[in-house]
């Protein structure tokens, strides 16, 4: 599943550690989500989408493979 976490984070000039602290998760988890190796739980997906002011379906695209 492709997501726009990295794109949104870099647009806002945030580091992975900043985003991790804002979401209450580890930096390693942000890295895993960005690379598509880990699919976040529904509450975390909502937290990520809300943080960037987007909806979950705008943030995560189930029709596209990660890295495409």
């Amino acid at each position: 599943m492709r997501n726009r976490v990295r794109e949104q984070r870099t647009q806002q000039g945030l580091s992975q550690a900043d985003l991790a602290a804002a979401l209450g998760v580890s930096r390693q988890t942000v890295i895993s989500i960005e690379s598509g190796r880990y699919l976040p739980s529904l509450p975390l997906a909502f937290a990520i989408a809300r943080y960037f002011g987007l909806t979950v379906d705008k943030m995560f695209d189930p029709d596209q493979e990660a890295g495409t």
């Binding site: 209450g24 998760v25 580890s26 930096r27 390693q28 988890t29 895993s32 880990y38 976040p40 739980s41 975390l44």
Partner: protein, 150 residues
């Protein structure tokens, strides 16, 4: 159970308790090998110190040891424990089979490990599963109709 202890100290505290219990067991046993209890205390102290140090590292292992894992790290920890349990079951089965084949009288510890891990697996299924294998789909109850049935 250990929530009253600071997160970073929880695993080291559990390890220290287990190590000290082991050392006391050797001491109570007595005999010429009583000094093994001293070795156990030293090994426990080294392990506790290394766990405390690891608990402060910015890694998945550090987060798990430091009891501050997030959802992904908890999943990683659970999968690792599941794999360890799988290895224990396979090893116990091999041990039990080998003991039976060569008529060894040391088969029962393997049987106990196999029984306990198997019971744990079944307990997990009943605790974490839905627990309602025969419940009907809402659509069959007549209370609500699925939009697909209209």
């Amino acid at each position: 159970m250990t929530t009253f202890i600071r997160p970073r100290l929880r695993k080291p505290a559990v390890t220290a308790s287990a190590g000290l219990l082991f050392a006391v067991a050797w001491l109570v046993r007595g005999g010429p090998l009583w000094w093994v209890s001293i070795l156990a205390v030293i090994a426990t102290a080294v392990r506790v110190a290394s766990l405390y140090r690891m608990g402060g590292e910015d890694t998945d292992e550090g987060a798990l040891v430091g009891s501050r894992a997030d959802e992904r790290q908890k999943v990683v920890g659970l999968r690792s424990r599941a794999l360890a349990c799988h290895f224990a079951m396979v090893t116990a089965f091999i041990g039990l089979t080998a003991a039976i084949a060569i008529r060894g009288n040391w088969w029962w510890p393997f049987l106990i490990i196999l029984a306990v891990t198997g019971f744990g697996y079944l307990l997990g299924l009943s605790s974490y599963g839905s627990g309602e294998p025969d419940s009907d789909d809402d659509a069959n109850l007549g209370a609500q109709r699925s939009p697909l049935q209209r």
